[in-house]
Symmetry: C2
Subunit: 249 residues, 2 copies
Amino acid sequence: MVSPVNAPTAAILVIGEEVLTAKVVDENSPYLLKELRKLGVATRRVEVLPDLVELIAERVRSARLAFDHVFTSGGVGPTHDDVTIAGVAAAFDVPVVRSPSLEKTIRELCAKDFHERDLRMADVPDGAELIYGEGIHQSPWPVTAKGNVYCLPGVPSILRRKFAMLRDRLSASPFFGKAIYSRLGEGAIAHLLDQTVAAFPDISIGSYPHLDRLDHKVMITLDSRDEVRLQAAATHLVGLLGDAVTRVE
Amino acid sequence: MVSPVNAPTAAILVIGEEVLTAKVVDENSPYLLKELRKLGVATRRVEVLPDLVELIAERVRSARLAFDHVFTSGGVGPTHDDVTIAGVAAAFDVPVVRSPSLEKTIRELCAKDFHERDLRMADVPDGAELIYGEGIHQSPWPVTAKGNVYCLPGVPSILRRKFAMLRDRLSASPFFGKAIYSRLGEGAIAHLLDQTVAAFPDISIGSYPHLDRLDHKVMITLDSRDEVRLQAAATHLVGLLGDAVTRVE
């Protein structure tokens, strides 16, 4: 399947020892995948990584060079296992510095429950941008971004609020999609899919066996940013499949 | 957090255009993470990748050299977007060859519903091992493995059956874990965690803020393959935390 033409691309890096050790199921990458898709951004990579600075640095570096946007989740608190900021800084070959404005905010927000150690959350990669959001999404606590890398928290409810602060700057032109359901199995229709892929190389075409459905054996998906081409490809394939088609959505 | 000492390691590579495009939520990596953990295998990497042969080859190569076991999920059917076998073969610098025994099995299993194209599922990396399982997990359709890379299907119900065929060969010594709940927040206890990490460098210690619980603010996890050391570390940390501890599990 080809990648949608001209879509801005993204990678999601979950810094998640707790995910790797099966203590929690990652909710953040499914959420980001769905929201980015709605915004017209094509996520091309998801990785779940342990809390190791050098590894995070290597994978952030690889992702920031290969994709338009990179989102990290997790590892931004004040404890020993919070090493995402150090990893992102290393990926840009810059030091970690303490942000005076974040330090001030932490002292104010924590007030009586303030501990020196909370100031670790004021540490950012040198030259980081602090994004406070706009309108109803404005927040006294910003999203830290370095270049095209956005550092989001691991707690799902907070990650969602922080992602909302970024929406406006990420929005692209939308994707269009169709699903065609076939009563014949993949082996029987593979050559027809090949013909359609050859005739419409600009359309992303996927084939997924559904084993437990009564009315079809395969779901075929077509995706594009060009609604007219998408319709042409769908019409072409439906013509080839003939009465194997049980429905089109 | 350090990786558990001496545990066999694993990587999971989800070949999942449908996951990246948010059509389905990946169930396979959470399942494999949990099952591998139960078997005493430490998964250190999860990646979700698009259906691109060169990329799959690069990531399988990286994973097979870095980890004891590698599991791929998806991309093993007969259609144009099924490229996992080609990617795994390229990662080992071997050609894809047709397995005579798999060809025979496909012709038998498909019988009247056989299509030439189904034979693509008889293609394996040269030198692949075919694992048929034992006892109640025995199956006429094997898991294809090349070296330390196991190629599992993307359909969750089939992946689970196929993984069951591998269990016996993966089993290692188990992990032990404890969770300590703190009524104080991360900033207040970070220095106590540091002390424990320094005193017990062989124990994996994680800290996770829980924002919506009434009885605690942080869950601290301790993991080890050594039950005695684990207990010692937990006792040490509980002593440091004093009456901040609300419970230990």
